[in-house]
Subunit: 236 residues, 2 copies
């Protein structure tokens, strides 16, 4: 029933948002000595989201937004030492070890034995390639696609390149906005695996529930069973 | 004789290093009010090159290295206002208009009428895609490959993906280190189009001259003629 199955990486196969939370914690600590007024997290979020069209996604973008926000919040009083600490935070985040989710590898082993897999991840090219190399999961995938955003157009281009019809494509991921909704809109299938930590930007409210051809499972380990259920019940 | 011809983009088809020179000029101006000691450009270059394994290539990486260097050179005295000016510089560089070289478009028109073309460019994914879209040159290429570095392995992967033998591949570019030498080492062909501005990192000294199967032309407009000459003289 499927010619191609794609997985998202960050917070679908391995921890990611946790690292950004650490970066946010570090940011609040760093600003705590400046008696800053105002909601630090909200202002950082706003700066990040405003900078996406320029800087895109990823650690360098995050830290540039932190630096910008820190200057604003401290009215320029932030010390050179603390600015350097943020550049150092970028290096730390970019070299953090990849930590796989429980059952991620066995899930890929199972699904890849029946379907060709690709990994579709957005963000910084070098960082995503490095994590892919370090993850030990490379062997399960035919291909890595690092993209600058995940819109309908992105998925259309990828499917075109792999000569796959949307109706024979299934995407697995933790972000409704990036992994699930655009694939559903294109006529594909999706398995949504929510993660407890989700970046504000990815949050979507769905009053009517998931669209048609989208299914939710509690954890990555339940994905193979769900794919087989979809293939069995909807395949013919 | 060739199944695939690839072009580099930055400083081969459009201006790029000029923008970084502007960024360096801005950086020196900004530091001029701090009575800084030491060779500013050299220290920035060193920081940039040291940060490549973490930050990769591109504007965000460049500006993070500027911020780090500025704190160091001013012994932490750099003002918040000037730090913000550097973040602003990043946004300015990332949205600068793409300026094509004279004869770039007619060169692509000529070569693409005889061979399939791809564009291989290293750096920031979002920025390179944006420049590709804005360049007006998209129609001449079958494919855009944004890579995190240009090593022999990079070219091997690309040729494998396109199912092309190295001996039937030719690369056109301005950087010996990235565009010419790895392709020659892999057994491919290369046309070197030097550019007056070259980043220190890309500079290579070749006491013995260009390797076999590499040819130099003075400007991009002479590339079609050189490709035909190679095909004619070496093709059989």
């Amino acid at each position: 029933m499927f010619d191609l199955i794609a997985f998202d990486a960050d917070d679908t196969l391995w921890h990611n948002e946790r690292l950004y939370q650490m970066g946010r914690d570090r940011f609040r600590e760093l600003l705590s000595s400046y008696s800053v007024q105002g909601p630090i997290d909200e202002l950082l979020d706003q700066t990040e989201i405003r900078n996406i069209p320029f800087f895109g996604y990823g650690v360098k973008s995050f830290v540039l937004s932190q630096i910008e926000t820190a200057v604003k919040l401290t009215a320029g009083r932030i010390s050179g030492h603390d600015v350097t600490a943020l550049v150092e935070l970028a290096r730390e985040m970019l070299t953090a070890e990849v930590e796989l989710f429980d059952e991620a590898e066995q899930t890929l082993a199972q699904v890849s034995s029946r379907y060709p897999l690709i990994l579709i991840t957005k963000g910084d090219l070098l960082h995503q390639q490095t994590k892919f190399e370090q993850s030990g999961l490379k062997g399960y995938f035919q291909h890595l696609e690092v993209v600058s955003g995940k819109t309908i157009g992105t998925y259309r281009t990828i499917l075109h390149k792999h000569r796959v019809e949307p109706s024979r494509f299934l995407m697995v991921g933790n972000a409704l906005r990036s992994d699930i909704l655009p694939v559903a809109e294109l006529g594909g299938w999706a398995v949504y695996v929510p993660h407890e930590l989700t970046w504000l930007y990815e949050e979507v409210h769905l009053p009517e529930g998931l669209p048609d051809r989208c299914f939710e499972v509690e954890r990555i380990g339940l994905v193979p069973e769900m794919i087989e259920r979809i293939a069995r019940e909807r395949g013919g």
